[in-house]
Symmetry: C2
Subunit: 371 residues, 2 copies
């Protein structure tokens, strides 16, 4: 077996934490002794043991002289748990193969260095791109103090999201709607605008029964639901506040007495800096990153989504396109008041596939544009 | 080798006539004697020998007792050439394997019957779907008296084809624009609206050098270029009339003296029935079918293309989508003034692939909607 094959297994393990590890990264570990996997581990939840610790426990004495495959540089600092680099040293592993470096300034190459200082051979960069992909949110937050920002949209072939009247159920099919649950579930926060709340009154929770995600129930957590509401127009009896889970109410106004509402859901109020009278979106994202949000999902109308795009704050578009034409009077995908071709925003294809009867596009902002 | 394998070879031969056989269908023929291919043929041009004749000539005496694979039922009538069914009988083939039946009322199962009457074994329907696909234009014209109608469009992710000002160069890349040449080349007619001619002044010819089509030069023919111009606003010094090839000028008005223009290109005038003051599009398509047009391509603005779609006259959408956002003020894909979701037009995915940096969708009208 090659380094890549063992690392691929470690990445598969890491992916099991897709919906649960935040604010921590998703990490997997495989311990190999004489071409036999003797330990496997993945990080499940913040505060619980790291991937290396799970794998070392399973390997026991067989870890001595073994090779450890880790998808992220082992930590070297005392957080909620002791440093994993130390655990690997104490277990007597002979070699550590790593995929990507930790961008956490508290780790920043010190994990690998600590291993090398202890006489352990270190090989870096095996399946690095795949490992970075799995934690692009965590890595961006560490590097830039901003979360990975994803917009989810559903449109017709002619780029329309609803009739002029607002009628929109349903453009995409059940499979696409179930797929959306997957993006919500992996997000730390889901952002919408107050108009969507007032008009559609969504709950915006993850509904495991509606998704196709196979994962133990205790490994789900509801994302923080964020309402952008500059002028505090939110109706406090909305569905959003009648669900388990936290809601962040972002406005440019001081907090009001929302005691009655907060008895239902967990309502946090946040007075955002204003930008032309609106919630400053960059500040909002920075605030969410400070709260430990690695990935955020924008599920809103054309206005708010367009504002995020125009501000260059979006890393990824997830666009479900249904094989239908809604016509030229229907609502636009994004409010973007461009007049000249040179204002166009070019993206890069990342993934295109069929989901039920719809096509799902994933596009990324050109490298460096938002990060 | 199976029947399907030999038929696949015959279909490959037939495809060589993609750009040249109209108004005739694309047909290929393979003659097999004792598991050896002894003759291959394909129909090149109307008036020239049919596929069977080419293949039989090549097979010579070895055709006796052989199996002939033909992608379309052999003709049984005297057209510009004698019936192929008779040629197969005279050559002494023992068996004919056919892919699809001819929809030409002059053939209509009489070809197969003639063979059976002569004691030849006939097997029908081998790779039938693939064979019908290759000649959907010819078959539709024979069955319905209408050509196969394809609309080609290029848009952004948000379904826009140009800025509000009309600025549109370029949304899609060079590879997509070269791919368009392929659709033009296989079409018998290319339809546009007078506004596109007045604004963009296109030549609308097939430019072999701009395409990636590999084909001998004598196997190209320029499609008829059709301008829909209800009120005869065409400028007679337009590029369209300064190219080799025919132009059909369709208006609701009587023909005018356009002698000067017709010296340059070959200008035909056609007074169409009016429908609300506009050229009746159904009548136009019927007229083109009467001229022998199997496949027509619509390359026009949102208004005319939308009118064809709304009239239910379109079989296929070919949509190139570029990974860009042009914004909510940009021009719509198709003018379709729908107000309710129930007016939406649903299509069926036929093909999705990457062409350069763009994605090309091919969608078909739900079966029976236009044919």
């Amino acid at each position: 077996m090659t380094h890549e094959a063992y690392m691929a297994e470690a990445l598969q393990l890491a992916r099991q934490g897709l919906y649960s590890t935040s604010p921590n990264p998703r990490v997997g570990c495989v311990i190999v002794q004489q071409d036999q996997v003797v330990g496997r581990g993945w990080h499940q939840q913040a505060g619980g043991p790291h991937a290396e610790v799970h794998a070392l426990r399973q390997a026991g004495e067989q870890a001595r002289g073994a090779t450890a495959y880790v998808t992220l540089e082992p930590c070297s600092h005392y957080g909620r748990t002791p440093p994993c680099a130390d655990a690997l040293i104490q277990a007597g592993v002979a070699r550590v193969v790593g995929a990507c470096r930790d961008a956490n300034p508290q780790v920043a190459d010190q994990g690998y260095q600590r291993l090398r200082d202890a006489g352990i051979e270190v090989i870096e960069g095996v399946l690095q791109a795949q490992a970075e992909e799995l934690n692009h949110g965590f890595l961006k937050r560490m590097r830039c103090g901003l979360p990975w920002v994803r917009i989810k949209m559903a449109s017709s072939l002619d780029g329309r999201t609803a009739m002029a009247s607002g009628e929109s159920q349903w453009i995409t099919g059940a499979a696409a709607r179930a797929d959306v649950q997957h993006w919500r579930a992996r997000s730390c926060a889901v952002i919408t605008g107050v108009d969507s709340v007032l008009i559609d009154n969504p709950s915006m929770t993850v509904r495991p029964q509606d998704s196709h995600i196979e994962q133990d129930e205790h490994l789900w957590r509801q994302p923080l639901r964020v309402v952008v509401d500059s002028q505090q127009r939110l109706a406090l009896d909305c569905k959003l506040l009648q669900q388990v889970g936290k809601v962040l109410w972002a406005s440019t106004q001081p907090a009001i007495n929302a005691h009655r509402a907060s008895e239902l859901g967990e309502l946090q109020q946040w007075q955002a800096p204003a930008n032309n009278g609106h919630v400053d979106l960059h500040a909002l994202l920075r605030h969410l990153a400070e709260q430990g949000c690695n990935e955020v999902l924008i599920e809103s109308g054309a206005q708010l989504a367009g504002a995020f795009v125009q501000a260059g704050l979006v890393d990824e578009l997830v666009l479900y396109q249904a094989p239908t034409l809604l016509g030229s009077q229907a609502r636009p995908l994004l409010s973007l008041p461009f007049e000249q071709m040179q204002q166009q925003l070019r993206w890069q294809w990342h993934d295109v596939r069929q989901i039920g009867d719809d096509i799902r596009f994933i596009l990324r902002a050109p490298t460096g544009s938002s990060s």
